[in-house]
Symmetry: C2
Subunit: 394 residues, 2 copies
């Protein structure tokens, strides 16, 4: 193996407000200006962090979020050949905004009027399609589709996204007061994703709404965040969505994967029928002909972004073919601008073929990446096995 | 060591409706009859299971839930010297009711009028105090205190429970639309528990309310149940309740403990300040002067009930002094009526001193059990190290 094909399964892109404004249908623009002013006024900044971040990245204006040349330069520096693009390139803590209009991105449309949220999502999706066209092999665009605000429109958006060359769909991670994803009303949407081959995504982000600001709020939020973001995973899985739509592929982005083995073990145990569930009879098998872990192996992917030591340790239980790496560019909790070093730290002792799968080959297969078209680029920027594993025999 | 002192940290007791009726203040009795008829009409039964269960236990009338002599006979047979008593001795699947009135028990008062829920809780608590008096060293009673329905009354109930000889308090596991437990409005309640030495509890039970019956409902419910039941744990911990009330002891009942090490690791990491949280500065330290795991070691107990292999494997990370065993009598997901065999299966390879702590000594210290008063009983019924470990050298 000469160089690793590295594909980030978790990148974020978004332009400044004035660009988004142009992509919004005209009747939403005044509301957009008001909304942007509101969220700008609510942003909390951390001056010490801004200084540190600007020095580290040199990107004071968040050009990484939307300037093709700047983005490509950063990807080159990071050794990343291609990336999956979600919305919301904001760098929290700096107060700099670049989020999909009306909270339609990672905020799952919380508190938004469904009509404006859908308009915001359309604006982002259309901007993103244009952005991806600037380097179509390198950019794997994910359309923002607020399915909780209307299934029929969402189905149309999936087809429109496929026509625009996008390769995935992100639905709201939280359903708030709308029907949960076990509701069969969503079936046409799952079917549309399966039919077009667009990968379905949820991305961590929207947190709890059932407790007030108070002591420990941020710590509680951060501790629970993975769980809120994982709910759609087991709701889809256990309600039989992958039974009914065997070609639907689903990736859970930036939500770790350390929790997967423990969850799957317990789901399987219930399905098989252990001591703890005997009072329920066969109820757990009703909507699934296979064990939960079997659907997961076939249909689910964990775009754990920057994996921690636990994801690496548990990679066989998660599934070597189901774990995707990412660098979360340009978010500071990701590894940018030190991705090469982080890869070496995490994958140093991981065998080469497994490293190749997790760093890029799994994503290449999932998103049908034209790897031949990226070969020269990989040859130029990809990390070598020696870069990653040093002198360790793996 | 001659015999193990076995204390179940998770038992359930409750009498039939006509007994509860007598303990209810008169003005609630008609509403109680209506409520009982309603829940009886909603019960799902599983005939095959009923037959199996009745044959296994011989307890067709659920006498185990409230008859002192029957209960003691069962405990003797199980080798259990003392037990912590929660409400709701119902055996789900048989349709037999014995739950704390108006859903005031494990259902966290869901859908109930707060006044009737409080009346139901008082009725259960007073019945339980009488039941515990039938064998006060053996029965460790936990008062039901719906603190979300009123803090001042809850404080009075804590003091009343202490006066009645009860040794713990169970609050609702879910707060539904009331303020979450991070709200400082609850401080007088934490203070009352700490001051009286009554152990605070939450118990698994009340599940999600944000999705409808539909495909996979039961599987999803069961997969998420641990999480809903664990929420109060990190809400108390991370909002600094144990910082402000260092003498408050808290036990999370029948919710496993396999999830504890992964959670604590991530909480500690945030508190210390790792890469992922640098954008937040010192926000995670605001309400805590120690690492989360340090409060847990001091203040928190995991009454995992019947431990699984994972709890046993992870016992050092959970804390040998913080893990409590239980048999969930008389619930069929517990180990009754085969507790001796289950103990041998789970603890066979666990060193004797650790087995002694988890099976009973931790609970004895936590609930200030008079172990001298139980010595003869233990000598008569307690399992021997050879019963548990057979010929394995531990």
């Amino acid at each position: 193996m000469s160089k690793y094909l590295v594909i980030s399964s978790d990148g974020h892109a978004g332009p400044p407000s004035d660009v988004y404004r142009e992509y919004l249908e005209e009747r939403y623009r005044i509301r957009f200006d008001e909304h942007q002013a509101l969220i700008a006024s609510m942003r909390v900044t951390n001056d010490a962090f801004i200084e540190e971040w600007d020095e580290e990245t040199g990107d004071h204006d968040m050009l990484a979020g939307y300037d093709p040349a700047v983005r490509d330069g950063m990807l080159d520096k990071e050794g990343v050949a291609a990336e999956v693009l979600f919305p919301d390139a904001d760098v929290l803590g700096t107060g700099r905004l670049a989020s999909s209009p009306f909270g339609s991105g990672l905020a799952s449309g919380r508190d938004g009027d469904p009509e404006t949220v859908k308009a915001g999502a359309r604006a982002h999706t259309r901007w993103l399609a244009d952005f991806c066209r600037t380097n179509p092999h390198r950019r794997i665009g994910v359309a923002v589709v607020p399915v909780t605000a209307g299934v029929a429109e969402a189905v149309a958006e999936v087809h429109a996204a496929a026509d625009m060359g996008l390769r995935g769909v992100m639905m709201p991670t939280r359903w708030f007061d709308e029907p949960a994803y076990l509701d069969p009303m969503y079936d046409p949407f799952w079917a549309a994703c399966a039919e077009t081959g667009l990968v379905l995504h949820t991305h961590s982000g929207a947190g709890p709404s059932d407790y007030p600001l108070g002591p420990g709020f941020l710590s509680i939020y951060a501790s629970e965040a993975y769980w809120w973001a994982a709910r759609p995973f087991w709701v889809l899985l256990l309600s039989g969505v992958f039974e009914r739509h065997p070609k639907l592929m689903y990736s859970i982005a930036e939500n770790g994967a350390w929790w997967v083995p423990d969850q799957l073990k317990r789901m399987d145990e219930k399905w098989v029928g252990g001591h703890n569930t005997r009072k329920f009879g066969d109820a757990f098998k009703q909507d699934m002909t296979m064990k939960p872990s079997e659907y997961v192996a076939r249909n689910c992917f964990f775009a754990a972004s920057t994996p921690g030591a636990d994801e690496i340790d548990r990679r066989y239980e998660i599934g070597i073919g189901n774990l995707l790496w990412g660098n979360d560019l340009p978010h500071p909790e990701g590894t940018y601008p030190h991705t090469r070093e982080w890869i070496a730290t995490r994958f140093g002792a991981v065998p080469e073929d497994e490293t190749a799968q997790i760093l890029g080959l799994n994503a290449a297969a999932l998103y049908r990446v034209d790897t031949a078209a990226l070969a020269d680029l990989v040859d130029r920027i990809g990390p070598t096995p020696e870069d990653v594993h040093g002198k360790i025999a793996v």
